[in-house]
Symmetry: C2
Subunit: 146 residues, 2 copies
């Protein structure tokens, strides 16, 4: 039997979060956190709605997951996020010691990779999952803005 | 007449915030945000209390100041923080486009300087204000922990 709970399966749920952000006129980035195939946090970018530069999808998901778990460290957790995390979110993921980070589209200009390279030594990083769809929703958003 | 509102003046208030963190058994880092000599945000590290790795003093101060101003960008604002901001907080300060960042003690291991170097081009950076006192409260905290 095939495994239902693939990285693509969870990234599609993160993409739904990105779509919700899009509808709210927010830069369309979505994130979820999963442990043992259970989703324990769902979030999308809310920087405009909250007028708060720290309200990235990943930041909210980290806070929410820690709240659910009752502990600061996100052991045995995976973050799925539609866009490569920025330096701020990369720094937060470092502190969280999360087990795995999976992202869709790359962000060569603002992403953590170019600036800080790695996350925590405990963190596995996977990139390019549903990359085209994750990139397309961003492209569409910024085309409408022009 | 001498100017009352020096960097040392405001750093001392940030140090009071760090002392409050110390009393609460939190790593003693304090931060305030000032605009036109008016304090619009005060915060101290709350990562243990909130079981949230994102609850650094600077992050809370940024959110709080933006809330006060009703806008995301911290123009004409100065952050005073007792310890060199980490990568996460450096990334958040970048997004905020804050005008000035003043910190006390350096943090060669976890600070933003070694990892990301600069903040936003609009941001002036001043270091070493009340450096000894800001460093001492950290040293005292970790000595008690041993």
């Amino acid at each position: 039997m095939e495994n239902l709970f693939t990285d693509e399966y969870f990234m599609r749920i993160a993409l739904n979060e990105a779509a919700t952000a899009f509808e709210r006129d927010e830069i369309p980035v979505g994130a979820i956190i999963v442990t043992n195939n259970k989703i324990i946090a769902k979030a999308h970018n809310l920087t405009e709605t909250l007028t708060d530069v720290t309200a990235h999808a990943e930041m909210q998901a980290i806070t929410s997951a820690a709240n659910y778990l009752g502990g600061k460290y996100l052991q045995d957790c995976t973050l799925y996020v539609t866009l490569e995390p920025c330096v701020m979110c990369g720094g937060a993921l470092y502190w969280s010691q999360i087990s795995k980070v999976v992202y869709g589209a790359s962000d060569p200009k603002r992403g953590f990779k170019a600036k800080i390279g790695e996350l925590h030594p405990k963190t596995e990083i996977v990139s390019g999952v549903l990359e085209d769809e994750c990139g397309l929703i961003m492209k569409e958003f910024f085309q409408r803005k022009r």
